[in-house]
């Protein structure tokens, strides 16, 4: 009984990790940049989610608004911060990304206040009782089902749509994709839009789970998402999803069984070190 509960908790957390880390993998796969500032977009998504819900009472509208606005902000981040640095070594862009992340946290503090925000009326606060007093919160059902639907749709499009195929070709060999008329600039914008929109949706969902957003809610997410994409194998989308789910479940069990030894947030790195000792290329990474 406890196992089932812990597994579901883990899948909920893993779904959130997957939504956040996928954007990071997309950017790394295409540009070989570690996009640390991605976590700042996750936070922004959380804020927009709470503010729009409180203003309009509609969670659906809040999710859509967060995805679109943050998607556009992500495109702007690429255009303004990364594109001018593409000819430089990747660590230059990494430094810019870290700076942007720190600056965003301060910006959120100034704009939204230092104490964080909550929903005035928390949407989806109920739960259903399944069996033996086993409860599943509506929010948890929402997190899992949204992740499954969104990731399935994206997966289908990347495999079967012409744009999806062109995008995968661009990841493999940008200049050859260009030689056949793929506009790689548009591929990059699309990449940042989708990745950032996913992070924003994750932000709204985390805000729902915790009923709270604050300026630094992205800091744990930022380093954990980095651990996940390394764990999965840098650039591997399947690896990222697998690592996100595994980490969610391991954290969920670890908190109960190893909680007296090791902090929850340290588990990710302990697990990362263990895996890299056996598979230096990550779970599904190419050698």
């Amino acid at each position: 009984m406890l196992y089932v509960e812990l597994t579901i908790q883990g899948i909920v957390q893993g779904s959130i990790y997957a939504l956040i880390a996928l954007g990071l993998t997309l950017v790394y796969g295409l540009l070989r940049i570690l996009h640390v500032a991605h976590a700042a977009l996750f936070t922004l998504g959380g804020y927009i989610g709470v503010i729009v819900t409180n203003q309009t009472g509609s969670l659906t509208l809040a999710i859509v608004a967060a995805a679109i606005i943050v998607g556009l902000v992500g495109m702007a981040v690429y255009k303004l911060a990364y594109e001018p640095l593409l000819s430089q070594p990747p660590y230059i862009a990494l430094i810019a990304s870290i700076a942007l992340f720190i600056a965003s946290e301060e910006l959120y503090r100034i704009i939204f206040g230092p104490y964080g925000l909550s929903y005035t009326v928390q949407p989806m606060s109920g739960h259903i009782e399944l069996f033996d007093g086993f409860r599943l919160k509506y929010v948890e059902i929402l997190v899992i089902s949204m992740s499954v639907v969104i990731l399935s749709v994206l997966g289908y499009l990347s495999l079967h749509s012409r744009m999806g195929i062109a995008w995968r070709a661009t990841v493999t060999d940008p200049s050859m994709a260009q030689a056949f008329g793929v506009n790689i600039q548009n591929v990059r914008y699309l990449n940042f839009f989708i990745g950032s929109a996913l992070a924003a949706i994750a932000g709204v969902l985390v805000a729902l789970l915790n009923n709270f957003v604050e300026p630094t809610m992205g800091s744990v997410a930022s380093y954990k998402a980095l651990a996940i994409i390394v764990l999965g194998g840098l650039g591997s989308i399947r690896g990222t999803l697998l690592a996100a789910m595994l980490l969610g479940v391991i954290e969920s069990f670890g908190t109960i069984y190893l909680g007296h030894l090791i902090d929850r947030d340290a588990l990710a790195f302990a697990f990362l070190i263990l895996v890299l000792m056996v598979r230096p290329q990550g779970l599904l990474g190419a050698k």
């Binding site: 493999t172 260009q178 056949f180």
Partner: protein, 233 residues
């Protein structure tokens, strides 16, 4: 068909080709002959719009395409079979062809895929296999097929025979000959000079970025000393 005048192009500050002029008509094969680093591939990349052009003009079927981006050049009817094949290894054979037809309508894409499978039956058999798992010869066929989807008027072919079994090379040249007979203009870069002179109508010799002899293959065949120097005898 294609008129190139005083083309200079290169990478960054390095000029790989200087003041190169040549032309090719519909149904003709032009070959570039020269050692590695002579600027043959760079010239093809510049025609495709993939390498920065410093000066000169490129005119295709009367339209000046010198300043057009790659996408527009594809629509004007140019396609490339690049050096080293450069197929997309993580994509299936069919998906590689879909990328080749990125700039054409779905209908032309579907017809193009059927045509390519008609030329190269092996590709049809392996349509859903990852391109990276194909043999070298099949990858070369795929690289050719990928370039044909957009129905080019001018095909740029870079090192068709490099590292391939003679039988496969013959098969590729057979298809090239058929396309040429149907009116396609072809510019061929080929390390096998004998083979290139065998199929081409005219040739340009390049030496370290500078254009040398240029003329018909018949002229070369009649000039024993030139022929011997080109063939390395």
């Amino acid at each position: 068909m294609l008129e190139v005048t005083n083309l200079s192009a290169g990478y960054g500050d390095i000029i790989a080709i200087r003041d190169f002029s040549f032309s090719v008509k519909a149904g003709e094969i032009l070959t570039f002959i020269g050692a590695n680093g002579a600027g043959k591939s760079t010239t093809l990349m510049a025609i495709m719009g993939l390498v920065k052009q410093n000066s000169g003009s490129i005119v295709l079927s009367g339209d000046d395409i010198t300043n057009l981006p790659v996408e527009a050049r594809i629509r004007q009817g140019i396609a490339i079979v690049p050096e080293g094949r450069r197929i997309f290894p993580d994509l299936t054979v069919r998906e590689n062809l879909v990328v080749g037809g990125h700039s054409v309508s779905k209908q032309i894409l579907e017809q193009g895929i059927e045509t390519v499978f008609g030329y190269f039956g092996r590709l049809g058999e392996r349509a859903d296999q990852l391109a990276g798992s194909l043999s070298g010869g099949e990858q070369q066929m795929l690289a050719m097929g990928r370039a044909l989807i957009s129905r080019p008027k001018l095909l740029l072919v870079d090192e068709l025979s490099l590292g391939l079994m003679p039988k496969i090379v013959d098969e590729c040249y057979l298809v090239l000959g058929e396309l040429n007979n149907n009116g396609m203009a072809i510019i061929l870069v080929e390390q096998n000079t004998e083979r290139a002179l065998d199929v081409a109508n005219s040739a340009c010799v390049l030496e370290a970025g500078n254009p040398g002899f240029s003329g018909s293959v018949a002229e070369i065949s009649n000039d024993d000393s030139l022929l011997n120097s080109l063939l390395g005898h």
